[in-house]
């Protein structure tokens, strides 16, 4: 497969997944806003969470100042100036898909293209009340894309690069949601079983479609420890870090090839750590520290995958010379 094609497939999938995750985060923020929160500056307090999860708080403040429901929602959902808004993600997903139309099925292209066309028809006459429907729509389109992909595409390296994009992005997002929520909920961590806690941790679970799974598995009150266990270590939970790393490692093994040795090693290492990890150890290291390390490791893996498969360098040059240039550039 062309290196550029791998690059486009990876980012096509990654942007779709990012759009879905942003919709999930915003949806939960909207639901949380309906609950009474008895502290000063509650609105800003609540609406910094989605900005922090997606890492766009700084650029938001430049444009709007304090976090407010309507402006945060607009900025993260529809603002073309925000490179990680749902709007921008769906646009980039389409541009990447358009560049590899030959490598994806026509059904996949139709889903991505019609999503983009529909988005442009609805964007400019949507009021605040329509947003929940909008988030549902974004999730639906993402589900549809995944379904169409698995139902129509040949099981070859193209699918592996799509999976890499999807699951690296998902792992990244789940880790961020946990991390940000953990901080926000820190004051109430000891108050296990309290009503506020129930709703706040419940919203975390809902944002990754894990509320029902939690009920089924634990049949008990919602505790931070178990939420973390479910979303980090349990590999039967499709949005957990463990499940994502299973997929990432498997995709890298399927791609194979001599150039991916380091990427496979990194993924294997990260996968093994999570596969044999214990939730007690995660908490004794500190959840925040653990997640920070996980995110750094994921970012490194992403860079290694790019260098191994998606870069355009003349392989006839001696490898040492290439490595040297790469080092000089850093």
């Amino acid at each position: 497969m062309l290196a550029r094609t791998a690059d486009n497939l990876f980012w096509m999938a990654r942007h779709i997944e990012r759009a879905e995750n942003t919709a999930r985060v915003l949806d939960v923020a909207h639901r949380s806003a309906l609950l009474p929160l008895d502290i000063e500056g509650a609105e800003a307090y609540l609406w910094y969470a989605p900005l922090n999860i997606t890492g766009c708080a700084a650029s938001y403040e430049v444009k709007y100042g304090l976090a407010r429901a309507d402006s945060v929602t607009h900025y993260m959902a529809l603002d073309p100036d925000n490179p990680s808004s749902i709007y921008s993600c769906l646009k980039l997903a389409r541009e990447n898909a358009r560049a590899v139309r030959g490598a994806i099925t026509s059904e996949m292209w139709e889903v991505i293209n019609s999503t983009w066309l529909e988005l442009n028809r609805m964007t400019w006459n949507m009021d605040n009340e329509k947003f929940p429907d909008f988030f549902e729509w974004v999730k639906d389109r993402s589900h549809m894309f995944r379904g169409v992909t698995l139902g129509t595409i040949l099981k070859d390296v193209a699918l592996s690069f799509i999976k890499l994009g999807t699951f690296l992005e998902r792992a990244d997002n789940t880790a961020r949601i946990l991390d940000v929520k953990y901080h926000i909920l820190l004051p109430s961590v000891n108050d296990v079983g309290g009503a506020a806690d129930y709703y706040q941790w419940g919203s975390v679970l809902r944002s990754v479609s894990a509320f029902e799974a939690y009920r089924k598995i634990y049949r008990d009150v919602i505790s931070p420890l178990r939420v973390a266990e479910l979303l980090i270590l349990r590999d039967d939970m499709p949005r957990s870090l463990h499940a994502c790393m299973n997929e990432v490692e498997a995709a890298l093994i399927d791609i194979n090839g001599s150039s991916g040795r380091e990427a496979r090693r990194l993924a294997g290492e990260q996968h093994a750590a999570i596969h044999f990890g214990l939730i007690e150890d995660v908490f004794s290291q500190g959840l925040h520290e653990y997640l920070t390390e996980f995110l750094a490791h994921t970012a490194l893996l992403g860079r290694e995958i790019r260098d191994a498969y998606m870069s355009r360098r003349n392989h006839f040059e001696p490898a040492a010379a290439v490595r040297r240039t790469a080092l000089q550039m850093q």
Binding site: M1, L2, A3, R4, T5, A6, E95, R98, A99, V100, R101, G102, A103, S106, W109, E110, N113, S114, L117, V157, F161, I255, G257, S258, S259, Y309, M310, S311, R312, R313, N314, H315, F316
Partner: protein, 475 residues
Amino acid sequence: MNTKTTLKYFDEMRTDDGRVRDIYQTYTHWMSQLPEGTLERKSAEAELLFRRLGITFAVYGETAGAERLIPFDIVPRIFGSKEWQRLQLGIKQRVRALNAFLHDIYHGQEIIKAGIISARQVLDNELYCKAMQGIDLPNQVYAHIAGIDLVRVAENDFYVLEDNLRTPSGVSYMLENRNTMMRLFPELFANHLVEPVEHYPQMLLDTLREAAPVNVSNPTIVVMTPGSYNSAYFEHAFLASQMGVELVEGQDLFVHKQKVYMYTTEGPQQVHVIYRRVDDDFLDPLAFRPDSALGVPGLLEAYCSGNVSLANGVGTGVADDKSTYLYVPEMIRFYLGEAPLLSNVPTWRLSESDDLKYVLAHLPELVVKEVQGSGGYGMLVGPTSSKEEIETYKQRILAEPDNFIAQPTLALSTCPTMVEAGVAPRHVDLRPFVLSGKEIRLVPGGLTRVALREGSLVVNSSQGGGTKDTWVLED
């Protein structure tokens, strides 16, 4: 729009006394049975289909990345099998002669020695590529893919309007038009025996395989595009996926020791045949335009060493230039020893002073074109132009007469077409796509372009033209 001429147009559906021709009988009967509004509804459905599939083209001069649809007309254009048989013989003959001409001018130049065409006309042409002299191409084929534009002026009279031997486009519309028609009107295909065109990509792949360097048995083939913002990008992607080959840009290729490789996830992979949809000028910044970011440094050298084949070959433009066009009937006689089956449009060369004088005196009746222009840009259609437009154009001609040719305004035939007021005749042309490898192949029909504006004779999509599905009926 009023045309000031008294041209008589050949109506492909109706005879002079208003009777429907035999070939359209079944279709018109079917149409007359439709409930009111059906065609309008199907027309809207077709547009939706095209937009959803993303069958779009970019228009030069509009906002970067703006995508438009080429209007699709849902009334098919119908040919009988006998008239198509005659037509295709003429088309194949013409392409065979053009390839023979290209081989000759880059080798022995016999046609110049015979005094049929001047050395100046060939060797001084800026599209003549000196680097190609003495280079042997597989099967002696230069124009692997040719688009021959035809217009019909009477029941049995077709003219060749121009030959497109560089990177002719439009074949994806031919294929998608058929696809859409079958989706919208399955019942029509049940009561007409329409010759299929869907195997074009397979024929193209066969042709490209045959173009591979001689010692390569299982060639790696790619389609090369200038990129996703090119006006014909949809077609490039479409053909690559239909053939199951990679769609590459210049940045995906590199040359090492006169061989071409693409960057893949598994390291470099050698490429043997490039179906390139990039003009000569942009192919290789080392050999042609140094500012080209679309090309591959060293590509021409690799090509001339015989390690990679390009389709079409380099330097074909000299044969489809509008001033070389005049000599094609002579080429057919010279190389094939046959009488031309298809005629040229009578053409005045404005480099000749007698012709120039005549043309300047008759501008309101004539069509004037730039010798190297294409896509309907920069031409003058006398009968539909205002006095001011004609005067402005006249100044351009006088500044550089060598750059122009003139032709009579042709009485392009008309076909029934869906317009706002219902079904009405509109002018059409035809572009069959001709593939040359070890043999010459073409699918029955081609792309019919239609001028949607009443009275308009310009069918180019960039000038508001649309397209139609083209049927050749089996006997």
